[in-house]
Symmetry: C2
Subunit: 330 residues, 2 copies
DNA sequence: CTGAAAGCGCTAACAA
DNA sequence: TTGTTAGCGCTTTCAG
């Protein structure tokens, strides 16, 4: 123990934790001893004593999907500002994976959990009634007393679709994920799409909706090719996410359709890749860093008030802006 | 304590850790009590006792860069197979960031560290002479007793360049990062590029080399535009990474050059986005999952043999394959 | 097969 | 301003 070098025991702890009442002379001495012995606090022991690990969990489907990778990057950066480390769980977008992530926090491995729900549905509300700090990042699917940070899905999708219409599209297709409930991303964005059509007096045509099983580039490409080959006329596509849209650009190119001349395309999320596709992709930007910052802020708040009586769940819906690029350009 | 429900104390520990000598009847009883009380082991206490945290650190420049995101995804998956969690540190590709990540392991927060070195150089070899489990993922820059998992940089770059030449290119440009030493990625891949030129009897022309400060899409795009606008003739571009190449595709499009008709393009890394660009991007695939698996395997080995005397450093250089896509297509 | 004793390294609370 | 006492919850060791 570093006390050997100095003369103290507990004082070391005070020095390490910047407690005020330490004579600067003593502090010096301790600091010197620490340096000489290359002493390091044992965080495991500290954790045991304090009940905090300084670690938060972030459960996302997969970090290599651009959207989640960018979200993770922002959350890690935001957490680092508050001296928190972030461990990443990959849930594979499955219910089981998300439940497994939930279970981990209960082991007190993490001080709190940011959970990006995709697989869990309203039926699982009870499972979320846990007493440890948690923030759901995604849709407001649950009624439980859990903080939420959500996107402006309906409004954003409406704006995206309206943008296509403004640019002259009259037959706007939708490449969307499967709609499992009434409040998942795919359903909400579909709502926004329909709302925009309504407002423009354009009838909703089910033939223009291409459902895909997973929100990946691959499925986006397949859906776009299928749409192009189906013989159904269309002059615009709103894709449920940018990742899907990037795949769709690929699929449209494969089918010999030019973007934006023949078909205009817009996505949702404004991932950084979208500026670099050819043509560059128009998108809805939900302000990721605001979302990340808010999520971490909520979580840190919950961690701080741990033990106190349940507070009401907070909810934050991010703002959005439309970013017009070549894919909807004239 | 769960012992209240059952009648044991330490036996709970045995049950939890699947120790053999427990009568199945007792085990049942304990298990039932655990379920009823919703008991969870306190990992902090276990960590303190065992000296293991079950957590490894992964230090990469930024998880939102596709290459590192995909690497992280594979490493997390690989670690999960061995019941290890992965905490991610973002070093910002800076020396300070990498040193900070090193320091954390010394706090025993992590059982070991996988460090993707970009900012550290040969001069920092001494700093890596640490006694805790570590694996360097990147170039073999250091002589210290540290395990390395590296890419076949020279050979891969040679193959990429040779591929362009085979496809008819005679003026092959190189968009490369700054060459800081003699063994960084940019230098090694440049070596491979020159080797291929030599072998084809094509003289090396410095005018065809566009250096960029960061390996990003943005810099790739700028470099490609600069190259196109410079008036120097070229019919092929080897980009040091796929990320840079995706930017270059964008830049070439901006300059009115068609890929592959006017200019052929190839990258390095084979990130998943490369299949979906328009045109799709040819690349060198260094077998990420083999690298991730090896890195985790090395680390787990080091963790297991912790305390034993120093072993010699192991080194693994991954294999590669060339993936030809539209960007070099005829 | 089960339990008792001891201690991992730290810090909250208090005393000096 | 510094030190003492205790104990966080677990597991290693050894005895029963």
């Amino acid at each position: 123990m570093a006390k050997a070098a100095g003369v103290s025991a507990m004082t070391v702890s005070h020095v390490i934790n910047d407690h005020p009442h330490v004579k600067s002379e003593t502090r010096e001495r301790v600091l010197r001893a620490i340096a000489e012995l290359d002493y390091r606090v044992n965080v495991a022991a500290r954790n045991l004593r304090t009940g905090r690990t300084g670690l938060i969990g972030l459960a996302v489907p997969e970090v290599d999907r651009p959207y989640y990778g960018q979200l993770a990057a922002e959350i890690i950066a935001e957490a680092a500002k508050r001296d928190l480390k972030v461990a990443i769980e990959q849930t594979g977008a499955s219910r089981e994976g998300e439940l497994a992530a939930l279970a981990l926090s209960r082991n007190r491995l993490y001080d709190g959990l940011i959970l990006s729900t995709v697989g869990l549905g309203p039926a699982d509300t009870d499972l979320l009634k846990v007493e440890y700090p948690m923030v759901i990042l995604g849709e407001r699917i649950f009624d439980g007393p859990v903080d939420h940070v959500a996107m402006p899905n309906v409004e954003g999708a409406r704006a995206a679709t309206a943008h296509l219409i403004e640019r002259g599209c009259r037959r706007v297709a939708l490449i969307d994920g499967l709609q499992n409930g009434e409040v998942d991303v795919s359903s909400l964005r579909c709502d926004g799409y329909r709302k925009a059509l309504d407002e423009a007096g354009i009838p909703y045509d089910p033939e223009l909706v291409a459902p895909i099983e997973q929100l990946t580039m691959e499925h986006g490409a397949v859906a776009a090719r299928r749409l192009a080959d189906s013989g159904v006329a269309f002059d615009g596509v709103f894709c449920v996410t940018d990742t899907v849209a990037i795949g769709a650009l690929r699929g449209l190119a494969d089918s010999g359709l030019r973007v934006p001349q023949d078909v205009k395309v817009i996505g949702f999320d404004n991932i950084s890749e979208s500026s670099y596709t050819v043509p560059s992709l128009s998108s809805i930007d939900p302000d990721h860093s605001l979302m990340a910052g808010t999520a971490v802020g909520f979580l840190v708040g919950r961690i701080a008030e741990k033990g106190k009586k349940k507070q009401v769940a907070r909810e934050f819906i991010s703002r959005f802006s439309l970013v017009a690029r070549q894919s909807t350009g004239g």
